[in-house]
């Protein structure tokens, strides 16, 4: 998971968090102080981890690193599945979700 503290707290309450003996966690709390490089590093770590099959990213963070995400999507990897979720401050914007866009395109829907 890569997200703000609210989202991460919620996911942890639902029992998704994992911290092993070496204090390696499967989540990254992003706040105003988190740098872009840190997020990318976490992203690379999570996508390489064979134990992780779903990667949850807050949509506004995903939007910030759209380039990395697109590059990763081009590799044709199917694991983990990347899900963009809304956060507390940023409501869900369908227009920014590439999968949603493709779905709409295929269904032939327009706003």
């Amino acid at each position: 998971m890569i997200g703000d503290d609210d989202t991460i707290t919620g996911m942890l309450l639902a029992g998704c968090g994992n911290v092993d003996e070496k204090r390696n966690s499967n989540f990254l709390v992003v706040d105003a102080k988190t740098s872009h490089a840190q997020i990318e590093e976490a992203f690379n770590k999570f996508t390489k981890d064979p134990r992780i099959s779903i990667l949850v990213i807050n949509q506004y963070i995903a939007h910030e690193m759209r380039g990395t995400l697109d590059k990763w999507a081009e590799l044709g990897e199917k694991r983990p599945a990347i899900l963009e979720v809304p956060s507390k401050e940023h409501p869900y914007e369908k227009a920014l979700d590439p999968v949603y866009q493709r779905t709409k395109l295929l269904l032939g829907l327009r706003d």
Binding site: G17, V29, L107
Partner: protein
């Protein structure tokens, strides 16, 4: 097109080979077409589900955030405690593989083992009820997420598979089959041409033979006549 037919020697054997290839290509085309149709059908049903699921995800996260705000009101800021206390996950995702018309599609299912002990005691003093509510709300959100992950991954996989299959169908339909048909036609015409040539040759030699025979007959007749004149000795006529 430069290469409208295959470069083969026009023989009867090659004709047979080409005909078999053509039948194979047509069969393959119809099979692939069926596969593409099956995949597209599956994809159509997925698309609708994805749309619905994305909407559900939006609202379930909103519920979760609201519940979390309630927790904050009742129990104070629990975020640091929760984040610091995270240990082993209780909800795990299990991967199955589903098969759609020969395309392997991953299916995720969430499984929860027992209860999370690390966050169990949070909110014991106050706001426990709200925390339970938030936990439930987020569990629901996670369920939706897992479902969405399955849909999304199968969507991406199928999207790719449909593209590849369609490309193959089109390649067979527009390149391989016409080329084979052209080759068969070419071999047929060449063979016909050969046959006509052969027939013509036969006829010609037959004519020649007939002519020869006729000429010989004439010659023989002439010779015979000459012989007749020569050999026939009339008796002397005596006056």
């Amino acid at each position: 097109m430069a290469q409208t037919r295959l470069n083969v020697f026009p023989t009867r054997q090659n004709l047979g080979v080409m005909k078999i290839k053509l039948v194979g290509a047509k069969k393959g085309h119809s099979l692939l077409k069926k596969k593409a149709d099956a995949l597209t059908m599956r994809m159509r049903s997925l698309l609708k589900q994805i749309m619905e699921c994305k909407d559900t995800m939006g609202s379930s996260f909103k519920d979760g955030m609201f519940a979390l705000a309630e927790v904050k009101y009742a129990a104070g800021d629990i975020k640091p405690t929760v984040i610091e206390n995270a240990t082993t996950s209780t909800t795990k995702v299990i991967l199955h593989v589903d098969n759609v018309a020969g395309v392997k599609v991953p299916v995720f299912t969430a499984e929860t083992h027992g209860h999370d002990a690390s966050t169990e005691l949070i909110g014991m003093a106050k706001g426990g009820q709200q925390i339970v509510k938030a936990r439930e709300a987020f569990s629901k959100a996670v369920d939706v997420l897992v479902k969405l992950a399955t849909l999304q991954t199968s969507f991406i996989t199928l999207d790719e598979a449909v593209k590849v299959t369609n490309r193959r169908v089109n390649a067979l339909d527009c390149v391989v089959v016409p080329r084979l048909t052209a080759t068969v036609a070419y071999i047929n015409s060449e063979l016909d041409e050969l046959e006509r040539e052969e027939f013509f040759r036969l006829k010609r030699s037959q004519n020649k033979k007939k002519k020869d025979i006729a000429a010989k007959k004439l010659e023989d007749a002439a010779k015979e006549a000459a012989d007749l004149l020569k050999t026939q000795k009339d008796a002397d006529v005596i006056f």
